[in-house]
């Protein structure tokens, strides 16, 4: 019987796996080094190892899901395909001109990111579509043939096609695709209207080019990975985690690599939500703190905030993604004094090499991890369950030299200031995704994961009047998250419709029906059954005259005048929430229509552990730990996470250690292990 579900998260340094046996609820976690040179190797090796650990046969596996940074790394390291561009005559430089802004207002020496298609690989074809979709100049097919022949001769293996106003009428782009497929069958093709039929040409062009640039790499990678999974004897096709929080089959994912650029963080957000929801918390803010940065994301009523546009490495990308906000505050963030004597933390990071001073490299700078070591919050001898030896003395010396002496502070005072500043940066990131969007974070649970999240969570939570949830395996949460998602397809279409025009309802109905048709066809093309699909509709709207849009949900049912009014009211409410005012007298303009097609995948059942009565819980050790609220080092009990049975409580000050993280419970906080394996850390007077 098939009962094993396996999630894999391939990160830059480590590959994590999570296996759940649905037959008995047993969970297995596994970590192994990534293989960046041959990125499919580590996950395949990991599959072998975790199956062995679970004493399971490949034939028993019913689901494999993969979160991967391969697309992101290929983009950041500029290791994509030789890509050509075909565009409207007069506009081949658009890719390079962009929005004509310099990357830093004051740093005149900062360079713009390198464009992905060099000028000699950008070709123009005579054609022109107007903003209303009318054909102003017919497509010159000889230009297309010439461009394709020259691109072929120049060695292009992927071609991006982006023509002006193609979102309004795709006929010319479609024809270019046809000619390209016939003339250069071996070349990958991405057309802009097929990828994202939305207006604003530079952003659409940039996304199309990124997609084309990554498509050959991802096709090769995902094909190889699927073949290897099959060669292991696993009977099911693996799925890939996409940025928007769903999973896609490899064929579909390979056609839309721009949807994979946030595959990893999206897994973390899903895992955090799944764990928190088990404990009854649908409103959470994720707090994923790693070595170099912290990711936060707001989830309301079980739904992560979604964005449709991001800038990655200077390149605008229009793609549905969980709206993760990143700040340069991690365990390896370096503390420094600026030329005015102000203490700062990050965004520069010591990374994994040389890493924090306590890792032992000569000349290393003081980091947030070192401050945690100095204050006794982290183990004084080793981390990662003993896999990493540390030298606490080096932490002391680094902070003394770089911060304490020049500032005239004692070492522990300097370390406390470093943590306070780092926590302020994190709290600001959380305010950015909540307060600045009209949401009170104190009504949300702070779900802390990543190596350093639980270490800082309580102090950050105090600042925002939040309660903390630390899931059982904070280090492999992303891998677990992959198991919790549905197959998801995001479609969009720009069409400007004024909501008070008589023809609006009919037009909106038609647009949404077309989108639905496109979604069903895409699933069918990829041999995915449409049984049980769920469709969610939103529209990006604005007041007539505005130049930015806000998403508004479109409820189920036929589009009629009442529905249009409801959309208008939804827009007024969203505008008021975000900006503090609305203008109900103004007409609402509907701009970009979006459809999310979800095909539910069975979710894993976590084993619920019975609550035990409070047993005697003995600390494994005592450690001298500094707490700002006490202004002194005190003797603090250190517990082992696995000793904490459901129902057990501990009061601060306390430290809970486990292989992949350390949780600090400050003196004014207490902690309780719940029946889902989560640790709830809460202020005493809350």
């Amino acid at each position: 019987m098939k009962s094993m579900r396996i999630g894999i998260d391939v990160g830059g340094t480590f590959t994590d796996l999570f296996l759940l046996d649905e037959a008995d609820g047993r969970a297995f976690r596994h970590k192994l080094p990534s293989t960046p040179g041959d990125p499919y190797k580590a996950p395949i090796q990991g599959l072998r190892e975790i199956l062995r650990a679970a004493d399971a046969q490949p034939g028993e596996v019913k689901f494999v899901g993969l979160g991967t940074t391969v697309a992101t790394n290929a983009l950041l390291e500029r290791k994509g395909a030789v890509t050509g561009l075909i565009t409207t005559a007069g506009f081949r430089d658009l890719l390079e001109l962009g929005r004509q802004r310099r990357p830093h207002v004051y740093d005149l020496f900062m360079r713009k990111p390198q464009v992905l298609v060099r000028r000699e690989l950008r070709f123009e074809v005579r054609e022109r579509i107007g903003p209303d979709g009318s054909i102003l100049t017919a497509l010159d097919e000889n230009d297309v043939a010439d461009a394709l022949d020259r691109l072929d001769a120049l060695g292009a293996t992927s071609i991006a096609i982006c023509l002006l106003h193609s979102y309004a009428n795709p006929v010319h782009e479609d024809r270019v695709v046809e000619i390209a497929r016939a003339r250069c069958p071996h070349v990958s093709v991405t057309s802009s209207h097929d990828l994202i039929p939305e207006f604003r040409e530079y952003e659409r062009l940039s996304s199309t080019v990124v997609n084309a640039y990554l498509m050959p790499v991802m096709t090769q990678y995902l094909t190889r990975f699927s073949d290897e999974v099959s060669a292991l004897g696993i009977p099911e096709t693996p799925f890939v985690m996409s940025s928007g929080g769903g999973v896609a089959n490899p064929a579909l994912a390979a056609q839309r690599p721009i949807d994979l650029l946030l595959s990893g963080p999206s897994g973390g957000v899903s895992g955090a939500l799944f764990q928190a929801r088990a404990s009854g918390y649908p409103n959470i803010i994720t707090f994923d703190m790693g070595g170099t940065s912290t990711d936060v994301c707001l989830i309301q009523n079980g739904r992560a905030e979604i964005t449709h546009g991001r800038v990655i490495d200077g390149l605008p990308i229009r793609s549905t993604a969980v709206d993760v906000h990143t700040v340069g505050a991690g365990g390896s963030s370096i503390a420094w004094l600026d030329a005015g004597g102000f203490l700062r933390c990050g965004p520069q990071s010591a990374g994994a090499n040389p890493g924090p001073a306590c890792y032992g490299a000569a000349g290393a700078k003081p980091t947030v991890t070192d401050a945690n070591v100095v204050l006794g919050r982290l183990n004084q001898e080793y981390l990662l369950g003993g896999a990493l030896r540390i030298d606490a003395e080096r932490s002391h010396r680094a902070i003394e030299e770089a911060i304490a002496k020049p500032k005239g502070l004692r070492i522990h005072e300097a370390a406390a200031a470093m943590l306070a500043i780092s926590n302020t940066n994190i709290a600001q990131a959380i305010r950015f995704v909540s307060v600045e969007r009209g949401i009170d974070p104190s009504e949300f649970m702070l779900v802390a994961f990543g190596g350093a999240g639980p270490l800082h969570a309580a102090d950050v939570a105090r600042e925002l009047k939040m309660t903390v949830l630390v899931p059982p395996g904070p280090g492999v949460l992303c891998a677990m998250g992959v198991l919790t998602k549905d197959i998801q397809l995001d479609l969009s279409q720009t069409r400007l419709v004024r909501s008070r025009e008589a023809s609006a309802a009919a037009e909106v109905s038609r647009i949404l029906a077309d989108l639905e048709q496109r979604g069903v066809e895409a699933l069918a093309r990829n041999q995915i059954s449409t049984d049980g699909i769920v469709i969610e509709r939103t529209v990006d709207a604005r007041y007539v005259g505005q130049n930015f849009e806000l998403p508004v949900a479109v409820g189920p049912g036929a589009i009629d005048a009442a529905m249009l009014r409801a959309i208008g009211e939804g827009f007024n409410a969203a505008h008021k929430r975000l900006y503090g005012y609305d203008q109900p007298a103004k007409e609402v303009e509907l701009v970009t229509f979006r459809l999310q097609v979800l095909l539910p995948v069975p979710k894993p059942d976590l084993a619920k552990h019975g609550t035990h009565a409070q047993q005697a819980l003995a600390p494994r050790a005592e450690r001298r730990t500094f707490f700002e609220s006490l202004g002194a080092f005190v003797s603090c009990p250190v517990y082992e996470r696995s000793d904490l049975a459901p129902g057990m409580t501990i009061s601060g000050p306390a430290i809970v250690e486990q292989m992949d993280t350390t949780t600090v419970v400050p003196p004014d906080f207490g902690a309780r292990a719940d029946e889902w394996g989560n640790l709830i850390v809460k202020a005493n007077q809350a």
Partner: protein, 551 residues
Amino acid sequence: MSYGQAEIIASALESAAWEMCASLIRTAYSPNIKERADCSTALCDAQGRTFALATYGPAHLGSTLRLVPALYKRFPRETMRPGDVFFANDPYIVGVTHLNDCTVATPIFVDGKLVAFAAAVAHHSDVGGRVPGSESGDCTSIYQEGIRIPPVKLFSEGTLRADVLELFLLNSRQPHFSEGDIYAQLAAATTGIQRVQEMHARYGGEAVARSIDEMLDATERRIRSFIRDNLRDGTYSARDWLDEDGIHDEPVKLAATVTVRGDTVKFDFSDCAAQLGTGKNIPYTHTMATVYFCLKAMVDPNASINEGLYRPIEVIAPEGSIVNPRPPGGVSSRNLTSMILADVMIDALGQAAPNRVMAAGGPYQGIILAGPDPVRNRYFVDYENFAGGQGARCDGDGTDVIQLHMTNTSNLPIEVMEIEFPIRVERYEIIPDSGGAGRYRGGCGVCRDLRVLGSDTVLSVRSARQRFPAAGKNGGLPGSAGAYVLNPGTAGEKKLHSTFSEMPLREGDLLRILTPGGGGLGKPADRTRAEIEADVREGKVTSEAARELYK
């Protein structure tokens, strides 16, 4: 007192200013603010010191230099009440940089005591005057540039003074934009009030005040140390020319003498031309913004923007000169003048900082197309700036087609423009050979072709470097000059002037805008063969030019 408190409070106050700015950009109506971010937000203390200023536009760096004293002069401090909102736009009184920059300012009270001000400054699309958009180099006084508003109360203790608002809106060609923008400014100021009040509630007024002192001092120390470490002591001079004053054909001199001594810098503009009788003067606060920009760019791009940045700097800007005009001198078109002034200062500062040398650049060329829109049945105003090329730098080629110095505004998406206006874009393309040749090449300019689809469309333009191109440095050649050409390649081809207002165009006319390239740096003969070949392969330098210039 907790550890790192000054840093924490300082960082929260700066975040508050940026949050105000983000809110203003998100909620504004006009593309000027929304798409081009031509705005700033600031927090000032009760003494008028700016302690946090957020902006993407360097022209706004001195937006609140004179604000608080100007308010106190008319509304004594003890008469101000919670819920009061002040409004002003006159560059000679509140010190914004032209009439389009309208300021909304609110006092912040804690326990009945006035502790600070929140201000939001935004470029309104039109504030009246003789031309659409209110900006024109050929205005002969500020009276032609729009309505002048001294500090007035827009809200009194929370109640809107509808008469004041109506007076302002009635003077605008685009009142629907302005009204929405004012509310966006108000929302930004409200955010500032809330954040400052929260800080007071949490840390107490004394700790906040002490932290503000500390943050200003720390910024000052930081700037002084960067000046000391990066600029060599000495006196350095540079000069350049504005093509013309907007009405007469005479070139206009811009010159700076920069004296670096220890940790201070003095900028002396005594050699600049006398005040012009046109709209191309730079009002005092805009001159100061230009100085702050250049110093920050040359020594410490990441410095905080607050009063501490202003302290180590001395400026001599004689009253009655182009850099400090007296009323009623016109100032609406001050920005391009300040772009050339920035090139002059960067030239002089580069002599003190050999690792920051940069040749002169090709500034944007601006257009305003306006008229009735027969299809959409409304009056349209399309206000756009097209970037030129950056000057070559000591570490490499200048960037092609990028906004320089005092401006960093976006172009409008072509698809948005064609949906909104009766205009079609027919070409947007890098101009080969426009970057000045040199060991390092200047950045190229761009060619933008616009087809006029409406009848009765009028064109106004503003530009610089159409006669005096961006000079090369150390043997580098100058970049190409900018130009406006009507109906190129036809019998009716006509090169237009560099400054004019409201020229009627005909339906079907093609307007070509050519932006200037940046100057080269070092001798062309020293450029490597590989670099020349790459330029030719990419089509940024023609093979003829390569043969001729890079011998």
